[in-house]
């Protein structure tokens, strides 16, 4: 096999790789594997400190499950629109693709907006990073997630912009697929957070806290 024209991450068709797998997709899955450990540590910290005695407010004082459920539906819906955007790209329909990408971004912005509102109302009820272990672990965990969502929104809007200005080759769906993997992962992390943090009941403090 003669000279291999070098072809690197994020670019077009399939570079000649030993495995036949594109570099960027392999890299993305390795990255998502490492992100499992990142969010796992934050979630574990939350679970470790859940229910420990401390000054109010506690989760039961501030959580608005119906509100957060709607937020969760929104984020799940954004995963659907994301996958529809990819399907459109694979059909070479970049107009539809941009539409679905915009939907995804807007749903994402709705989610983040919802979180900002939620955090603000918690803050007004007396919950800050410094108040107690709940504030500490809750805001840092959901904050990290929110930052990840925001980065995702930036990437989605960038894809729309690049497609609109002709910088995204119309025969390619690969970049959309890559951003999609990241976006779905962020959604999947929220599935865990919603269940573990919001839905699983917080034991009342006063019991044997831990270790």
């Amino acid at each position: 096999m003669a000279d291999v024209a070098l072809d690197h991450g994020g670019s077009a068709e399939h570079p000649e790789t030993t495995t036949g797998l594109p570099h960027t997709k392999l890299a993305m899955w390795l990255f998502l594997g490492s992100e499992c450990l990142l969010f796992g540590a934050l979630i574990s910290t939350y679970v470790l400190y859940r229910g420990r005695a401390g000054p109010p407010p506690s989760p039961n004082d501030v959580f608005d499950i119906p509100y957060t459920s709607v937020s969760s539906f929104v984020l799940l819906a954004s995963s659907l629109t994301m996958v529809l955007a990819l399907a459109a790209a694979q059909r070479l329909d970049h107009g539809q693709m941009r539409l679905w990408l915009l939907c995804t971004a807007m749903l994402g912005m709705t989610f983040v907006g919802g979180q900002v509102y939620e955090f603000t109302s918690f803050f007004n009820e007396g919950l800050s990073l410094e108040t107690n272990l709940f504030g500490t672990t809750f805001f840092v965990l959901t904050g990290f997630h929110g930052v990840h969502v925001t980065v995702g929104i930036l990437m989605l809007l960038s894809l729309v912009g690049m497609s609109w200005t002709g910088r995204l080759p119309t025969d390619q769906s690969f970049p959309i697929e890559m951003v999609g993997l990241y976006w779905h992962f962020v959604d999947v992390v929220w599935i865990v957070i919603f269940t573990v943090v919001y839905l699983i009941p917080t034991p009342s403090p006063g019991g044997p806290g831990g270790g």
Partner: protein, 113 residues
């Protein structure tokens, strides 16, 4: 939701990725999965309000979350249809995280109440 994508257009085979092992959900199937995810979420929320004891509620909630997780990863992220090697690395991270953090939490006595 409630949008019905154009069913007449088949995904162009030559534009499809080499990494597709064949078997590729159609937009309609994706919508179906989206609806299932919504239903599961609703079930989760209902379970959390049901007032059953923790030892029943918590496994139920976790179980539902796992199913949702799997649906998104296997279908939306296409892992079910893609090359096994992607799964390998993701599972390394996922199982590693689950195992290691579970051990840490157990050592803190979080599960012995």
């Amino acid at each position: 939701m409630g949008v019905e994508p154009d069913q007449a257009v088949q995904p162009a085979q030559h534009a499809a990725h080499a990494s597709h092992a064949g078997g590729h959900p159609s937009p309609k199937e994706y919508v179906r999965i989206g609806l299932i995810l919504a239903v599961l979420t609703a079930l989760e929320v209902a379970a959390s309000y049901s007032g059953v004891s923790g030892s029943l509620m918590i496994p139920t909630l976790i179980g539902l979350a796992i199913v949702k997780f799997a649906l998104v990863v296997l279908w939306f992220m296409h892992l079910k249809f893609d090359d096994r090697r992607y799964s390998r690395f993701f599972v390394m991270g996922l199982s590693g995280a689950a195992t290691l953090y579970l051990i840490v939490l157990i050592s803190f006595g979080v599960f012995s109440r």
